[in-house]
């Protein structure tokens, strides 16, 4: 199936804004460069403009005047979706209910007037690739959600699109299936080497699938970066809060340390004066004896999760602090414990 391999088309959005009738600005001017073959995930809470961005790339919405959409060197801003040679996977699958699995997959090829033997061969390849060979002649209403999603994927890539656009393709599935299909989609995208834009509000999905993640909120891009960048070096409050669990404590910078909750933390930035906010993730702490601890808190609750224990602490400021430990120790409510924060993983935002 070497003919499936494709270098992928680069996508370039140039100040694409979108204002809907009635004056709702769903998207502020957005610039986004996606390299050929790259998988970019649009991530953000409901209503932040992910679908709108995807639909602008697809050609289902036109950007406000001034915005341009480039596929490689082609300006496709004015090109309707049917001419853009994209593949699209919808959250609701959008399979044609009046056709069989086979007819659904063959549809794009038939519309392109591909000769019958070629269609048969290509559909056969798709059925095999998505492991749905035995469903070939089923009607759509006889499929499970996961099977529907495989058919939808097969239909979208059968036509060998220049880019693949996926709008929350796994949201309607149960957790186990979601994880399994996530792995399959990941392998598929790598194998095809196709440029893909994937919309989701699930950060786990975003982290595992994306070469890069675009975090959005309220029609704005908050940060673009690799999953590691986004997780370890959030640009701002929103990204820090949105991705994973994070603790925040107020402090005052004093040279090589920061004063927090009556204790002092080592700090590499070496800057004095002014209020700062210390952010750290639950997994970046180690429980230590009270004497050598950076910080101390009282256990409110502990959740044993098998591989680790999650502790909720108070006594460290207005908000409770969440930490995780792999220690095989039982913690009891009310107990005072101390912990150290890995200095390299601390994130400090100026306030």
């Amino acid at each position: 199936m070497s003919d499936l391999k494709d270098q992928g088309t680069a996508i370039n959005l140039l100040s694409c804004a979108k204002t809907f009738a009635g004056g709702v600005q769903a998207l502020e001017p957005l610039d986004l460069e996606i390299a050929g073959g790259e998988t970019v995930v649009l991530l953000g809470p409901s209503g932040c403009g992910k679908t709108t961005t995807l639909r602008i790339i697809a050609g289902l919405e036109e950007p406000d005047p001034g915005g341009r959409v480039m596929f490689g060197d082609d300006d496709v801003t004015r090109l309707p979706i049917e001419k853009r040679k994209i593949g699209m996977v919808f959250q609701s699958y959008a399979l044609f209910p009046n056709m069989t699995v086979r007819e659904n997959i063959a549809y794009g090829l038939m519309v392109r007037r591909m000769p019958k033997p070629d269609i048969d061969r290509r559909v056969g390849e798709m059925l095999e690739m998505m492991h749905i060979g035995d469903l070939e002649f089923r009607r759509i209403d006889q499929l499970s959600g996961g099977q529907c999603q495989r058919v939808a994927l097969a239909r979208a890539i059968a036509v060998q699109p220049r880019v693949l656009l996926l709008d929350e393709p796994l949201t309607a599935l149960d957790a186990i299936l979601r994880t399994r299909l996530r792995v399959e989609i990941d392998q598929l995208l790598r194998r095809l080497g196709i440029t893909a834009v994937y919309v989701t509000h699930d950060q786990g999905e975003a982290m595992s699938l994306g070469d890069r993640i675009v975090v959005m909120s309220r029609g704005r891009v908050e940060q673009i970066g690799t999953p590691r960048d986004i997780y370890y070096k959030p640009n701002n409050d929103f990204v820090a809060e949105f991705i994973g669990t994070i603790n925040r404590l107020r402090g005052i910078a004093r040279g090589d340390h920061v004063e927090v909750a009556g204790a002092s933390l080592p700090w590499s930035a070496n800057r004095s004066g002014g209020e700062v906010e210390i952010l750290f993730r639950p997994e970046n702490v180690t429980i230590s004896n009270l004497k050598s601890a950076h910080l101390k808190g009282n256990v409110v609750t502990s959740f044993f999760q098998g591989d680790r224990t999650k502790l909720i602490l108070d006594g460290l400021g207005e908000r409770q602090v969440i930490i995780e430990t792999t220690d095989r120790v039982e913690f009891i409510a009310g107990q005072e414990i101390g912990f150290r924060i890995d200095p390299d993983s601390m994130i400090i935002l100026n306030t």
């Binding site: 289902l60 979706i81 994209i86 699209m88 399979l95 044609f96 519309v111």
Partner: protein, 273 residues
């Protein structure tokens, strides 16, 4: 099923059974018998084919009903889709006005056709002023056609709009993303989605047109549709057996149309009007 359950079932079915026998089976059986009561017995049913006047009337009614149904489906599908997909000022008023014709009896509709295309009708006056020729077609099949369209179109439009509203817009977008041009989308996505509605409302249009009497009676004179022929045979010619055979045939055709539609669309289709 034990005896007790069986008795319960009988009690439950009884009202429907009585209704069925009293209002449907008995009169129908009587009608069938009357139809076969002439000297020639059951062979009288062949008369509908051999009596030219009856046969022509049957064919004319069929042609009229099929034409009305087909035209109404085309016109109403286009307008129904347009109304569902476009928001404009006065849309709500327009849609509620569309249900107006459903409230009128056939007589009123016949009356309105005469006002439009009769001897003193609007079309006559305008065409006389423009060309000197007075166009009058109210009292012919064309008049009947206009009248039947008048009450058929609203039924179909309302059904189509309901079906179009339930359609998943992502289906069309999916077809477009696969490169389908507009005509293919209509053929492969929109019409299949509307099919149950089209069959159901088409069957009702057909059945209503086959049996409509009031409009024909108002326009009268030289239109021989089946209900008119039955009326003439029954009241003027006192040919009760003939009227009965025609009634049974009319009933069978309409029933068959509804039965086929019900099987095709899988949903409930009932005769109305």
């Amino acid at each position: 099923m034990d005896r007790h359950e069986y008795r319960n079932l009988v009690i439950l079915v009884l009202p429907t059974g009585i209704f069925c026998v009293a209002f449907f089976l008995l009169p129908m059986a009587r009608l069938v018998l009357i139809g076969a009561s002439g000297e020639r017995g059951i062979a009288a049913y062949l008369d509908i084919v051999t009596t030219p006047r009856h046969f022509e009337s049957l064919i004319a009614t069929l042609v009229l009903s099929i034409t009305v149904t087909a035209t109404a489906l085309v016109v109403a599908t286009i307008s129904g889709l347009f109304l569902e997909r476009n928001r404009f000022k006065g849309r709500g008023v327009l849609i509620s006005m569309l249900t107006f014709p459903l409230a009128f009896p056939g007589v009123v509709i016949g009356f309105m056709v005469i006002m439009l295309a009769g001897r003193q009708g609007l079309i006559g006056i305008v065409s006389k002023a423009l060309t000197g020729d007075k166009i009058v077609f109210a009292y012919s099949m064309a008049g009947l056609f206009v009248g039947y369209m008048y009450f058929s179109i609203p039924r179909v439009i309302l059904t189509i709009m309901a079906a179009a509203e339930k359609m998943n817009p992502a289906l069309e977008e999916a077809a477009r993303s696969l490169g389908a041009p507009q005509w293919r989308i209509i053929l492969d996505v929109i019409l299949p989605a509307l099919k149950p509605g089209l069959i159901a409302s088409g069957a009702i249009c057909f059945a209503t047109s086959m049996g409509a009497f009031g409009t024909a009676f108002t326009l009268a004179t030289n239109i021989d549709v089946l209900p008119m022929t039955i009326y003439t045979e029954f009241t003027l010619n006192a040919n009760i057996a003939g009227a009965a055979t025609l009634s049974i045939v009319l009933g069978l055709i309409t029933w068959a149309a509804l039965y086929i539609a019900r099987n095709l669309s899988g949903s409930n289709v009932a005769a109305a009007g």
